[in-house]
Symmetry: C2
Subunit: 168 residues, 2 copies
């Protein structure tokens, strides 16, 4: 396994999103078993001024679709952000995985030093691709991915770290 922008971006986003899909499947199944309306989980949040589960999943996928696109100099696909069920969130993850599958390692070669434009704190900022990936996209992605998991664990969904990591 050799270091490349592809491995550091596309391969990481893909592996973690597959794991997120399992996390959400477990949650949906658990809602069924406990006779909890799935909306309870989908609208759950850890603090009144934090995003609910659905929005956490939306933003995680936004970073996963946005980062490789910007690095490769492609248009970022637009999503409607209208998901309102586990099935729709799963479809969004699947669509993002399909988008990620369109990138080859060659598409991202040299993107570490390419200047990308990104909207941060309400304004357009230019920065090197590697800085954007490692210090903007990836920490944001992991933030929303982990917070989605934490919301579900806080609501009693039986999940373990192995599911978060995608190691089972």
């Amino acid at each position: 396994m050799t270091l490349s922008m592809y491995e550091v971006s596309v391969a990481v986003f893909s592996a973690r999103l597959k794991a997120l899909s399992s996390v959400l499947s477990t949650a949906e199944q658990n809602a069924g078993e406990r006779k909890i309306d799935p909306q309870v989980f989908l609208t759950a949040r850890l603090a009144p001024d934090m995003f609910a589960l659905t929005r956490q999943v939306q933003i995680a996928t936004d970073h996963a679709k946005g980062a490789p696109s910007r690095l490769a100099g492609r248009e970022v696909p637009k999503y409607e952000d209208s998901e309102a069920s586990f099935a729709e969130l799963q479809a969004r993850i699947a669509k993002t995985l399909d988008h990620l599958a369109t990138f080859s390692a060659a598409d991202l070669e040299g993107s570490d030093e390419r200047i990308v434009e990104v909207r941060l704190g309400g304004r357009e900022v230019s920065m090197a691709g590697l800085r954007y990936l490692l210090h903007v996209a990836m920490p944001n992605f992991y933030f929303h991915l982990t917070t989605a998991y934490d919301i579900l664990r806080h609501n009693g969904v039986p999940l373990g770290k192995a599911t978060f990591l995608g190691s089972r």
Copy 2:
């Protein structure tokens, strides 16, 4: 900014741990203002079978000290895991940042393909350095980093994503 194992590991761990230090400073100050015993925050958890704040910070720093050490073929420093206050957690973060500062880019060159030994699920596993970094150490690190933040947000500490990211 050029892609290297150093940038993908040491530089990321360092930036995020500095941000974690700010997150914990905000929490300690907030405990003081709200006249909450700091132990309430340090022992808070999101679910009965999840780790409390102190342990989240310990594990995050474990990955930050462990990954570059394993990649460089050095001994991983041992910590006592006896922290029981915000000041002691800050000292642990500072010690980890000092350890990270001992690595040069040259120390990690070629470590993407170097085979490292790592304990996973109770047994020793061998894997390529890059796989270990991107699919074991980094997701675990971000998991505990984010969960520490989420615990504090859940307890009403006024934090924003910018502090998590270290962008202010």
